[in-house]
């Protein structure tokens, strides 16, 4: 089996994924509250954008959220790729890196869209 990662790299990857998990635990808590609040206030573009347009704090928070997702999500997907879809380590890692890029690009676009428009 081709190992693209040695033990040390795996260990670092594990550590970064767990640190991002800690960041996400806080982000998700805030986000869940935000979701409930947003739904109660009514899900219209007017209501949402009134709160997010020009909101630097919003931008900063969700930028951190997006970056944490980009670190956290692909690792889990790569494992599932290897264990359940039979992908080789190389292919799973490549797919994971692509997904990380997708999260960063699309996430940054979403934050920009909501804050700047």
């Amino acid at each position: 089996m081709t190992m693209t990662m040695d033990g040390a790299t795996q260990a670092r990857r594990w550590y970064r994924q767990r640190i991002s998990a800690m960041v996400l635990a806080l982000c998700v808590l805030v986000h869940l509250v935000t979701i409930i609040y947003a739904v109660r206030s009514g899900l219209t573009a007017e209501a949402l954008l009134a709160r997010t347009r020009g909101n630097i704090a919003f931008a900063a928070f969700y930028a951190v959220f997006v970056l944490a997702c980009a670190v956290h999500v692909p690792v889990g997907l790569a494992r599932i790729g290897e264990e359940w879809l039979g992908l080789r380590a190389r292919a799973a890692d490549a797919a994971a890196n692509v997904f990380a890029l997708v999260i960063v690009v699309m996430g940054a676009t979403a934050v920009y869209a909501m804050v700047h428009g």
């Binding site: 767990r18 998990a21 800690m22 996400l24 635990a25 998700v28 808590l29 986000h31 869940l32 979701i35 409930i36 739904v39 109660r40 899900l43 219209t44 573009a45 007017e46 949402l48 954008l49 997702c69 999500v73 889990g76 997907l77 599932i80 997904f99 997708v102 999260i103 699309m106 996430g107 676009t109 979403a110 920009y112 869209a113 909501m114 428009g117």
Partner: protein, 118 residues
């Protein structure tokens, strides 16, 4: 082909916690690009985002959103359990946290449903 671990051997709380964590993670991961794309419609003006929000203001979408909120709460609380297992002194499989995850899922689901109904 040697014998595999049977489904009957999976019938314990920590294994269910694992499968819920994995499945919720995959579903949330699949949802994420869709979520970002939806918010990006705001790039084309407020009306574009509003159009999307109106389109999704129907029972099927609200049910999906409700499901995602529940999955998010489950995944996060289950994840905190794993962080405790991995970083704090060992105190068993922390089944109290499995219960807490179920509670968080129920709470999030209820809160979202009530917010919708208002």
């Amino acid at each position: 082909m040697r014998r595999r671990v049977e489904a009957r051997a999976h019938n314990h709380a920590a294994w269910w916690a694992y499968i819920v964590h994995r499945v919720s993670g995959v579903l949330l991961a699949v949802f994420l690009p869709l979520h970002f794309w939806a918010l990006s419609t705001a790039l084309h003006g407020d009306a574009a985002l509003d159009g999307f929000l109106r389109f999704t203001d129907r029972p099927l979408f609200k049910f999906a959103e409700w499901g995602l909120v529940v999955l998010l709460a489950l995944h996060m609380t289950g994840g905190v359990r794993l962080l405790l297992i991995e970083f704090r002194p060992w105190s068993g499989l922390r089944k109290n946290w499995i219960a807490a995850a179920c509670g968080a899922g129920i709470a999030a689901g209820l809160a979202f449903a009530l917010a919708l109904v208002r």
